[in-house]
């Protein structure tokens, strides 16, 4: 028990150290690039699922499952790029509210990650109706953040 606790403490310390190091070294413009790249990839893998759900392209359960699996990982990435050091960056659509209402922003981000995780789960089942429902819920979670924290 003690040993487990010790291991966990070490892991947390290492993890915290690692993320501190990453953010301490990264320049603001790199962080913006990090999160924009992650967003671009999310769009790349999410879009085709939407096209299939609307019937704009034929439904392919394997592609949906693959993309949703990628998305589950990708969805965890953008949050890391939203560091306070990027507050004054010009080439970004992030609104000041990202930092002034951080709690709401974090919650919206977490909510999105949760919905994407569910999408990945549902996608494995291959049931088109269930995927469409969860696709809609995921899109709403994306939009919630875009509405409040992204300039139009």
């Amino acid at each position: 028990m003690k040993k487990k606790f010790l291991l966990a403490a070490v892991a947390v310390a290492l993890g915290a150290g690692a993320s501190f190091q990453a953010s301490a070294q990264a320049k603001p413009e790199q962080l913006v690039k990090q999160r924009q790249s992650a967003m671009a990839l999310i769009g790349w893998y999410f879009g085709p699922i939407g096209a299939m759900m609307r019937g704009d392209r034929p439904f392919d359960a394997a592609v949906v499952a693959r993309n949703a699996g990628y998305l589950e990982v990708l969805s965890k990435m953008p949050a890391e790029g939203f560091q306070p050091s990027t507050k004054d960056e010009k080439a970004t659509k992030a609104k000041p509210e990202v930092w002034s209402d951080k709690a709401k922003f974090d919650k919206a981000m977490e909510n999105m990650q949760g919905e994407v995780a569910k999408l990945a789960q549902v996608a494995k089942g291959g049931d088109q109706g269930a995927i469409k429902a969860q696709f809609g819920a995921t899109g709403k979670a994306c939009a919630a953040c875009h509405d409040d924290f992204r300039s139009k």
């Binding site: 999410f46 899109g139 939009a143």
Partner: protein
């Protein structure tokens, strides 16, 4: 104040149907545009319908019944000023069709609705859905049009609010039955109000023009060629 006892038919069926369908679809656009998710699919279909309706209304403004025509309700500056002078009085406005200010409001709303539906065709939500003409413009241009689509909606919402406020003013203060008239087509006017000779055009012509507008929209959206 003279009695309003003359029932005069002013709005033809196509104008009334257009008006209330637009109200319903506009409300749905507000809802679906905010709800996002899978509602966006219906947001697009509803947008095509609005585009067809507005195109029809423009055609009807040239080929419709007397009070539906632009030439009958787009008044000159003199008429507008004369109308505004008497606006705040409590007596009815004595206008058979659109009053001078209302007429210009119709034109502005139609133009902005056209712009709204038109930019929607090129818009993208940066999540999963694009308008049918998105592929013909760069991402940057699409983003700008999407931005317009976003802000112009609030302009339309403000116009709708102004429209409703004006109607409420006419109904409550000036005692005109404008809302009822938009349902029945019949306005109650007094004996002095000048009622021009009105020519009502067959609703079949309206149907033909609407089908024409709808086919045009489908061709734009589906691009079968």
């Amino acid at each position: 104040m003279s009695e309003l006892h003359r029932a005069v038919k002013v709005w033809d069926l196509p104008v009334r149907l257009f008006h209330w369908l637009l109200v319903a679809l506009f409300g749905f656009m507000f809802f679906s545009g905010k709800a996002k998710g899978n509602w966006m699919e219906w947001h697009m279909y509803s947008g095509y319908m609005i585009l067809a309706l507005v195109l029809f209304r423009v055609l009807w403004g040239f080929a419709g019944s007397t009070h539906a025509r632009f030439s009958s309700f787009l008044a000159g500056p003199g008429a507008c000023i004369a109308f505004m002078r008497k606006l705040l009085s409590r007596s009815p406005a004595h206008v058979a069709g659109h009053n001078p200010l209302g007429g210009w409001m119709v034109l502005v709303m139609l133009l902005l609705l056209l712009a709204q539906a038109g930019t929607g065709l090129f818009s993208n939500d940066d999540i999963s859905i694009e308008g049918p003409l998105y592929k013909f413009v760069s991402k940057e241009v699409s983003d700008q049009l999407t931005s317009f689509h976003y802000y112009n909606f609030y302009v339309l919402l403000a116009l709708a609010a102004a429209h409703i406020a004006a109607v409420a003013f006419h109904v409550l203060v000036k005692k005109e039955n404008l809302v009822g008239a938009m349902f029945t087509g019949v306005k109650m006017l007094d004996s002095q109000t000048e009622v021009p000779a009105v020519r009502f055009v067959s609703s079949w012509r309206a149907l033909g023009l609407f089908v024409l507008a709808l086919v045009a929209v489908i061709l734009i959206v589906k691009r079968p060629f």
